[in-house]
């Protein structure tokens, strides 16, 4: 048997969901010894595989775990890993597709699906903010000679979220009073759309609430719009009076610069 075939067959036996024993394949591939059968030896690796990956997901998504409950989270995690096996060398990326996967499977969490999707998006953004890449900060010199393709961009580690539930508050509360009140009850009581930036400062991850216009302006900048176009887009349905605009822009840009969110990006000259 060639190396590739052995590894494919061993991986298939290993990654089969818990409960499926794969005894026949184990016998074909693995030698027994005087204490353990081939399938018992395979089972050592299978237990280790599932424990490692399920623990990793639960650690990265404590909010989703709290919403689903531990048992249901474990079931959904097994299903998720079957549909979205790890394609990265690092466990850090294991949950990258969980928010979209939950969105595609309303049957799993029923009435709590939207809440769980919001929480999964926040918790994935938390991972990105923790160790995501950082681009050079916007420098005044960039503004002196901007060039036709220059745009103000945002740090790659910053995620902007429009959420139906205030899961940022729930996630913070989970750390302080875990188990005192079911997360889904707490979130449902607070149901209220919010805009959140998940970012970091000096190594600590923060959730910062944004005004709707501030959120749309940042999103437009991230998408490569020029500043004037981004401002028009952000305030197209604004409740703010036009006279308030200069003060708001000054406040927001000063805050974003202070937080280190702004960077420089360039767009294709053909798009200019």
């Amino acid at each position: 048997m060639r190396l590739l075939e052995l590894q494919r067959r061993m991986a298939a036996a290993l990654l089969a969901p818990p409960g499926k024993r794969g005894r026949k394949e184990a016998v074909r591939l693995i030698k027994p010894n005087d204490r353990l059968s081939a399938s018992e030896r395979l089972a050592i690796y299978r237990r280790s595989y599932w424990a490692r990956l399920l623990d990793s997901l639960a650690e990265d998504f404590p909010g989703v775990t709290a919403i689903a409950g531990r048992r249901r989270f474990r079931r959904l995690a097994v299903q998720y890993l079957r549909d979205c096996p790890s394609r990265s060398f690092t466990l850090r990326d294991l949950g990258a597709q969980l928010p979209d996967w939950l969105q595609r499977h309303p049957e799993i969490l029923g009435a709590h699906q939207d809440l769980a999707v919001d929480m999964a998006r926040l918790e994935w953004a938390h991972i990105v903010a923790f160790d995501g890449a950082q681009s050079p900060l916007l420098d005044p010199e960039h503004l002196l000679e901007p060039g036709p393709g220059m745009r103000i961009g945002l740090q790659p580690y910053l995620t902007l979220l429009e959420l139906a539930y205030p899961v940022d508050e729930v996630r913070v509360a989970l750390q302080s009073d875990a188990g005192q009140q079911p997360a889904r009850r707490k979130a449902a009581r607070l149901a209220n759309p919010v805009f959140v930036a998940v970012h970091r400062s000096e190594g600590t991850v923060y959730y910062r609430r944004l005004e709707p216009e501030e959120f749309h302006l940042l999103q437009a900048l991230r998408r490569g719009r020029a500043i004037s176009s981004a401002v028009r887009f952000a305030f197209r349905h604004s409740r703010h009076a036009p006279a308030d605009l200069p003060r708001l822009l000054e406040t927001w840009f000063a805050a974003w610069a202070r937080l280190g969110w702004l960077t420089v990006t360039s767009i294709d000259r053909h798009q200019v």
């Binding site: 190396l3 290993l14 591939l29 010894n33 490692r52 060398f89 160790d131 190594g203």
Partner: protein, 291 residues
Amino acid sequence: MRIPAIFPASRMTPRFANSHYGIGVGLRTPHIGHILEHKPVVSWFEIISENYMVGGGRPLAVLDRILEQYKVVQHGVSLYLGSAEPLQRDHLRRLKSLIRRTGTPWVTDHLCWGSVDGRYTHDLLPMPYTFEAARWTARKIRQAQDYLEVPLAVENVSSYAEFHVSEMTEWEFLNEVVERAGCGVLLDVNNIYVSSRNHGFDPLTYLNAIPPERVAQIHLAGHSKFEKYILDTHDHPVTGPVWKLYQQAIERCGPTPTLLEWDDHIPSFEEVHREALKAQAYLPVAEAAAT
């Protein structure tokens, strides 16, 4: 014409060149605050490369602070040199970037496989000990070593299964790979002990088969005993039989950088460091053997 000797860990490093590294400790998150605050005297820290192959944030900031004070050696867990798929360029690129940051004098990973068709198991799976697997693995090691531009040493893993297709023993396979690759060995004496109990061989037979000039580093760790097998859990102090095996290893290999791994139920830094420093008791024997 004199043919240059092949040295441990690489074609570049003379034997014992890194012996001054002495006893190191694995850098683990629960200890970082203590280390940065108290700056304990530690010869070197081993980091898990993958924990720092990230874009930015706290992991790299902490690493930079550690690098201001300490020597660091990189140990990887996911190159999967024995996987039947080619090396991943992006992985190597990130690893090389980290190597430039840490200045690690050598880099290590495991003689195992863990991915197939782009799917990762995140485990250190045992190799089938075949000549085909040895040739393929050695080729990948040479490619990795050439790209990374630092000596590479491969670690023997602990295992719980053996394949029917194997054509040789584990130690024969290890030697076949490292001779073909011209790389070093990270000799994990705990893993030799664990595998010897799980597969019923004499750990000394394994140890005595390893060319000492290839051994670039030694790992020590604790394990857990179950009714029918032993598991490499890294959650206990080093056991007596493993210390005995370490003594025999160090007598054969001479002074060799040695590291204690403790990855689960991690006690205080002082306790881990104390356990690691027990290895110092064996150094005079190693030095005598080297002269």
